[in-house]
Amino acid sequence: MLQVILDHYNYWIAILLMMIGLYTVVARGNLVKKLVGLNIFQTSVFLLYITMGKVAGGTAPILDDRFTVYSNPIPHVLILTAIVVGVATTALGLALVVRIKESYGTIEEDELNLLDGEM
């Protein structure tokens, strides 16, 4: 039983974080809060990938004569790219939030829906 928990704990926390992020995006009305939720979701996916590449007893994939077991470098490469793309999308989302604030005077979803109904 303990072994099952230890074998899957990383996956479970990754899924918990994913669901907290998803709930923040769907259920919170503030646009900045939604973007923070999106970042949480995104980091949980990074965690899932890096967890899959870990080899027990291994070391970071930097070649050296003193080591023979290395963790898998491929998830690291994929996630390195994803982190940078993630901050680019965050910057774009924040720029949209600034424009919405300028045009509508609010970034709360309920008030935006009301204003759109009046127009």
Partner: protein, 201 residues
């Protein structure tokens, strides 16, 4: 054993931080906590042997993202309104999806298994041959810059597109009749540019 304890402690802290982000109404506290969350994620990546990912996450996730968000908070205000009603439908969707995903994890290979399918294909070849073929001790750098160079080209395209879009949205409108002051918005544009430059270097 000690590694396992560090692993479990960091993951538990990440869960607690995420819950606090969900609950808090002060957006300044939320943004600060999201910086802490990124830093915890970076520590977690070090524990999982992904050192390159860890310092990118610490610099980009905990650094640049937090600065961008604070710049936006200066323009938009830092209180979130309380939700008008409890969100039962999203809660039900999230719990169901989470339960289905956790059910699926029982088919995943155990954490750290050396014979997991993901570790048997391509990765051994990179580990064994990349030093002879590329000549760098860091396998992550070899794969990023040489074997999967097109990925990095695509990434640069995405960053360029995002930078152009940000500039079109909030750049170059000094002195027009916009309702709020323009200077901090221009700061945000500069930040987006510098992150693009910093990561392609």
């Amino acid at each position: 054993m000690i590694i396992t304890l560090i692993d479990i402690a960091l993951l538990t802290f990440m869960g607690a931080t995420a819950l606090a982000i969900l609950r808090l109404r002060s957006l300044f506290a939320v943004v600060m906590l999201s910086g802490i969350y990124s830093l915890l994620a970076a520590s977690m990546f070090v524990a999982l042997d992904a050192v390159d990912v860890a310092f990118t996450e610490a610099a980009v996730g905990a650094g640049i993202s937090t600065v961008l968000m604070i710049a936006v908070l200066a323009l938009t205000g830092e209180r979130e309104r309380a939700p008008s009603h409890t969100m039962w439908l999203p809660m039900a969707v999230v719990v169901l999806t989470g339960a289905a995903l956790i059910y699926a994890t029982f088919d995943m290979p155990a954490f750290g298994a050396a014979n997991a399918p993901v570790n048997l294909h391509v990765a051994p070849r990179y580990l064994n041959e990349s030093f002879a073929e590329v000549g760098l001790p860091n396998v992550v750098t070899s794969v990023l810059a040489s074997y999967r160079g097109y990925d990095t080209l695509g990434e640069v395209t995405v960053i360029f597109t995002a930078a152009v879009a940000v500039m079109l949205l909030i750049g170059g409108r000094k002195g027009d009749d916009a309702g709020i002051k323009n200077e901090p918005a221009d700061d945000a544009v500069d930040d987006a540019d510098s992150d693009g430059n910093g990561d392609t270097a």
